[in-house]
């Protein structure tokens, strides 16, 4: 009975193929019903962050990783994401500029710094120092800049400072290149 034993040998392969096909179909289906919801949620999150930074915002445009924020026809400023190499991983920072030179505000979106020490980079007493500062002056005060580091969290503090400054300089250059 060669035919029967061939079928028997092929059975594991056939079964695995069936299982994989069913699983992939299921995943495609779940992806199709959740995709819209997920991207809407991400848009919503960005919009909430931008509105917090630019309360008069009515719309924004997103191009080349830069959000340009408008109130009707007036340009309010720019915002972009900066990623700092912190003590415990990446620090994601949303940086808002009121024009091509001045920081409007920064907001720490996510971070995994040491609780009680590095996590204080999210607190207003630290982030408020960036408001209105020229992007060339974003350096820790011990290096001659305008931002005071948090006591015993120098690595987290300088990660934020460097990420904000370097990304801001890079984005401003990019903006000038576009014009």
């Amino acid at each position: 009975m060669p035919a029967k034993s061939a079928l028997k040998n092929a059975f594991p392969i056939i079964l695995l193929t069936i299982v994989v096909t069913v699983c992939v179909s299921l995943l495609t289906y779940v992806d199709s019903i959740t995709r819209e919801k997920i991207s809407a949620q991400e848009d919503e999150a960005i919009k909430a962050l931008l509105t917090e930074m630019f309360p008069e915002m009515s719309r924004y445009e997103f191009e080349d990783d830069i959000y340009t924020v408008y109130s009707d026809a007036t340009k309010l400023g720019y915002a972009f994401l900066a990623i700092g190499k912190g003590y415990g991983g990446d620090i994601n920072i949303l940086v808002g500029l009121s024009d091509a030179e001045t920081v409007k505000e920064i907001e720490i979106i996510s971070q995994t710094e040491t609780p009680g020490l590095g996590t204080r980079i999210s607190e207003p007493f630290f982030t408020d120092q960036f408001a209105g500062v020229d992007i060339n002056d974003i350096t820790l005060s011990r290096d001659g800049g305008k931002i005071d580091a948090i006591t015993s969290s120098t690595i987290s503090s300088s990660a934020v400072v460097e990420a904000v400054r370097d990304t801001a300089l890079e984005k401003v250059k990019q903006l000038e290149g576009n014009n």
């Binding site: 079964l15 299982v19 779940v30 009680g116």
Partner: protein
Amino acid sequence: MGKGKFAKEFAKGLILSNPVFVLALGLCPTLAISTSIDNALGMTLAVLIVLLGSNIIIAAIRKYVPNITRIPIFIVIIATLVTVVNLIFHAYLPDTYEALGIFLPLIVVNCIILGRAEAFASKHSVIHSIADALGITIGFMLALLMISFIRQVLGTGSLSVFGIDLFTLPILGEHPIAIFILPYGAFLVIGLLMGLFRRTGVMKGE
């Protein structure tokens, strides 16, 4: 058989075969996400869906699965369920999704799931596998809640669940013991609880 067996398979997961304290399975997510009650409940929900689904499917097809393709088939089923849970959490529970981070997709390699598939669901009926999944998940939840409660209260000095502040301790609220929120705090708490349970004889090692 019947009802008595169902209850027995269910109850064993709670204490005698508690996944964390006795079987010492799933310690990686336990260490990582037991920093707050919210995370513990989110993780429990994810594990419940995946474990219940994988136990039911694997028990249902157990008679047709040849031994040599057993593991790939189990892994494909588990990975599919985890991805589904991942997408659904991302879409409908964004805060929990954010808090659990990488540990949500990592349920794929959580040894509780494959462990139960191999040790139980592939040898027992669907009904008993459901009992097993429920018992093990609740045992997992009890362990997570216990560890999270201790870590959250000592590490932050207060307890809040889903944004509702339940209480703040007088001195700890001002000066929380941050070590309990950090990863080594988890080792400390799990080790001490495990020791305590063995010493008092509530749980015995297998």
